[in-house]
């Protein structure tokens, strides 16, 4: 069971959290929506990096403070490398 450090509440068991999938997918602006192709929209909606390695993803402390945050987690080791707030860009990490 993952141990996730909520930026507010500290380390809690995984079952207190809900997974928010890949982070840093910005919703297209209205202008973009109106000019983009269906394929580009599909890219926003569905296409994912799904890396084998460090994944920048979102979690929410659903059974706790209900706050969303970003996590850099290794998808092979499950090591949580960094927890950082929403809105902050993905950290540059040494390649693991």
């Amino acid at each position: 069971m993952l141990l996730i450090s909520c930026p507010h509440c500290g380390p809690r068991d995984e079952h207190e959290f809900a997974y928010g999938h890949e982070a840093h997918i910005a919703r297209p602006t209205l202008d973009q929506q109106n000019t983009m192709s269906d394929a580009e929209w599909a890219d926003y909606l569905f296409m994912r990096k799904n890396p084998k390695g460090v994944h920048f993803e979102r979690w929410v402390h659903a059974r706790g403070c209900r706050q969303w945050f970003n996590v850099a987690r290794h998808t092979v080791t499950h090591e949580i490398i960094k927890v950082y707030p929403m809105g902050e860009p993905a950290p540059k990490l040494e390649q693991k």
Binding site: C9, G10, D13, H15, E16, R63, G64, C65, R66, Q67
Partner: protein
């Protein structure tokens, strides 16, 4: 409001008063009870805004606990940290309407919110030497005195219900705030786990 006698607590149908009368509180390893009808008001605002902190203080006398998972008390008012911009003000039942009004007035002009949630929760109290043991059956938090103590609170899970856990003294005693719809479930869960302990029911 209607006559008080028409008001029912979430767990009233379990006959807690009668059970409490028969309970041996002194010899018990755990003592559980329902503390119903508290005033619980959810407040939202910006804790880095001095005006917000001042407004809370002006109404409750409490210095807003900005440290996560802590509580602060002043007189009848207890303020519990729920999130970085969310707290509960808990006080004597029946005063929630006034509290909501006072807080709204104090927050005037700020981006803040006040929501009465008193009626949505009941409180199950648990106290006694084995209280931590019992909670460990359903709660993954570390409640060891080195890790958790009076003045701390946490929203977490207790078995399959979501709760807010507030340690009220070092006995230890805990207040467990739970949605009323889960009240039956959680109360019966305590009975289930409690069968391996000497336990007693406390009157409200």
């Amino acid at each position: 409001m209607a006559e008080a006698y028409t008001r029912r607590s979430a767990l009233q149908h379990f006959g807690l008063t009668a059970a409490a009368a028969k309970s041996d509180v002194a010899g018990a390893e755990i003592v559980i009870g329902e503390s119903a009808h508290r005033a619980i008001v959810n407040i939202r605002g910006n804790s880095s805004d001095a005006a917000f902190i001042a407004a809370v203080k002006s109404v409750t006398g409490v210095d807003l606990p900005v440290k996560p998972n802590t509580t602060a008390q002043s007189g009848a008012f207890r303020v519990l940290w729920l999130g970085p911009a969310e707290w509960w003000v808990v006080t004597t039942g029946g005063t929630e309407e006034k509290l909501v009004a006072d807080l709204r007035q104090a927050f005037a002009g700020q981006h803040a919110a006040v929501v009465d949630v008193s009626e949505s929760r009941t409180v199950i109290t648990i106290s006694g030497a084995s209280a931590r043991d019992v909670l460990a059956r359903g709660c993954s938090l570390d409640l060891h005195p080195r890790a958790f103590g009076p003045g701390q609170c946490a929203q977490t899970g207790l078995t399959k219900a979501n709760i807010l856990l507030d340690q009220t003294d070092a006995t230890p005693s805990f207040d467990i705030y739970v949605l009323k719809s889960f009240g039956d479930y959680l109360w019966q869960w305590f009975w289930l786990i409690g069968r391996d302990y000497k336990f007693a029911i406390k009157a409200q």
